[in-house]
C-alpha cells in the first residue's frame, strides 16, 4: 500500500528533491511528493479478508487520516494460497 501526505500539506522531502534536480540539469520538474510504500504479508482466509484487515490497519496505525491519504495498491495471493497485500 501507499501512504502520502494530503495535497496542500508541505512535503519537505519532496521540496528538497525538487530543489536539487535543476543542479543536475532537470529544470522542468515541479510538485515532487515523496510517500511511503508498505509491503506486508497477511495470513488470511481469502483476499477479501486480507484487504479488509489491511484497511483497518491502515486507519489505526499505518496512516494518520488527519494528514495522510492511504491507498491499497495491490492484494495478491502467493503460491501457497496465502493472502499477500
Amino acid at each position: 500500500m501507499e501512504v502520502s501526505l494530503k495535497p496542500g500539506l508541505l512535503d519537505p522531502q519532496g521540496k528538497a528533491i525538487e530543489g536539487s534536480l535543476p543542479a543536475l540539469g532537470w529544470s522542468n520538474v515541479s510538485d515532487v511528493r515523496v510517500g511511503k510504500y508498505v509491503r506486508l504479508v497477511v495470513d488470511a482466509t481469502d483476499l477479501e479478508a486480507a484487504t479488509t484487515q489491511v484497511g483497518d490497519m491502515s486507519r489505526r496505525l499505518l496512516s494518520n487520516p488527519v494528514i495522510e491519504d492511504a491507498v491499497i495498491r495491490e492484494v495478491v495471493e502467493d503460491a501457497a494460497g496465502n493472502g499477500r497485500a
Binding site: 501526505l5 500539506l9 508541505l10 519537505p12 521540496k15 528538497a16 496505525l61 499505518l62 494518520n64 488527519v66 494528514i67
Partner: protein
C-alpha cells in the same frame, strides 16, 4: 484543597529525552514527581500526568504513532476521560494528537530544518491545566527544539478549534504580536499549543520544563508548572470546560 503536594506522573517511553527535566521541574515547583514506565498499566496514583519530549520509538512511521499504543496509554486514556489533567510536551503533544486525545497533527517544520531556539508564546485561554490562573494575552519565554512541530488541521477543524477556544498558545513577539517571523515552524494560525474540548488535556511544542531555573535562563515555564500543580489538586471536574 488539601495541603499535600500534588503527585505528577512523568511517563518514560523508549526514546523519551526530557522526562528527567520534567521530573526536575515538578520538584522545583513543589510537586511530587512520580516516574512512570510506558510498559506498565499503572499511573502510580498520580493527580496529573506529563508525556514528555523526545523521540519515542525513534519517530518511526510517524512521530508518536507507535507510542500511542504503549500499555500505559490505555490507563492514560481512562485518566483523561475521567477529567484528570494530562499535558503533552513536544513528542508528548505528538503522541496525544496521534491518540486522538487532541485535535490536529504535527508535521515537518515549514522551514524544513530542525529549530532550536527561544520563542515567546502568548496564552490564549486560562482553560487548560498549563494555563489555569494565567491571563489571556500573557507572554511566556520558553525554548523550542523540534523538527516536526508544524501544527496542521483541516480548515473546518481549525474553525471549530478557534470558535471553541481550543487554541491555548500562539507563537508571538515579546509583546504578544503575531507575525510569520515569530512562528518557528509554520504552524497554522501560529498555534503552539492546543487543548481538548473538556479542557483537561493540553499539548504544546515548546518546552516549559527547560525554562524553570533562573540560573539557566528565562523562566517562562514556572507559571505553567505552577498552573499544572494547582490543576492537579483540584477536584475532578467533568465540569472543567
Amino acid at each position: 484543597m488539601t495541603a499535600r503536594a500534588p503527585r505528577v506522573g512523568v511517563v518514560t517511553f523508549p526514546g523519551s529525552l526530557d522526562d528527567r527535566d520534567a521530573v526536575r521541574a515538578v520538584r522545583a515547583m513543589g510537586g511530587e514527581a512520580v516516574p512512570l514506565w510506558y510498559g506498565e498499566r499503572d499511573l502510580g496514583g498520580a493527580d496529573a500526568v506529563i508525556l514528555p519530549g523526545g523521540f519515542s520509538y525513534g519517530d518511526y512511521l510517524r512521530t508518536g504513532a507507535i507510542a500511542r499504543f504503549a500499555p500505559v496509554m490505555e490507563e492514560l486514556r481512562a485518566f483523561a476521560d475521567a477529567g484528570r489533567p494530562v499535558v503533552g510536551i513536544c513528542n508528548g503533544f505528538q503522541i496525544l494528537c496521534e491518540a486522538g486525545l487532541l485535535p490536529g497533527a504535527l508535521i515537518r517544520n515549514a522551514g524544513r530544518r530542525f529549530v532550536c531556539r527561544w520563542v515567546d508564546i502568548r496564552v490564549e485561554t486560562s482553560l487548560s491545566p498549563f494555563t489555569a490562573g494565567l491571563v489571556a494575552g500573557e507572554v511566556l519565554r520558553v525554548p523550542v527544539k523540534h523538527g516536526e512541530g508544524q501544527f496542521v488541521a483541516r480548515g473546518d477543524e481549525l474553525d471549530w478549534m478557534e470558535g471553541d477556544g481550543l487554541v491555548v498558545f500562539r507563537y508571538c513577539d515579546p509583546d504578544g504580536a503575531l507575525g510569520a517571523e515569530h512562528n518557528p515552524n509554520g504552524s497554522a494560525a501560529a498555534i503552539a499549543g492546543v487543548r481538548n474540548e473538556a479542557g483537561n488535556v493540553v499539548g504544546l511544542m515548546p518546552h516549559p520544563e527547560h525554562a524553570i531555573d533562573p540560573d539557566l535562563g528565562p523562566t517562562g515555564g514556572q507559571p505553567m508548572f505552577a498552573a499544572l500543580l494547582q490543576s492537579a489538586l483540584e477536584p475532578v471536574a467533568s465540569g472543567i470546560r
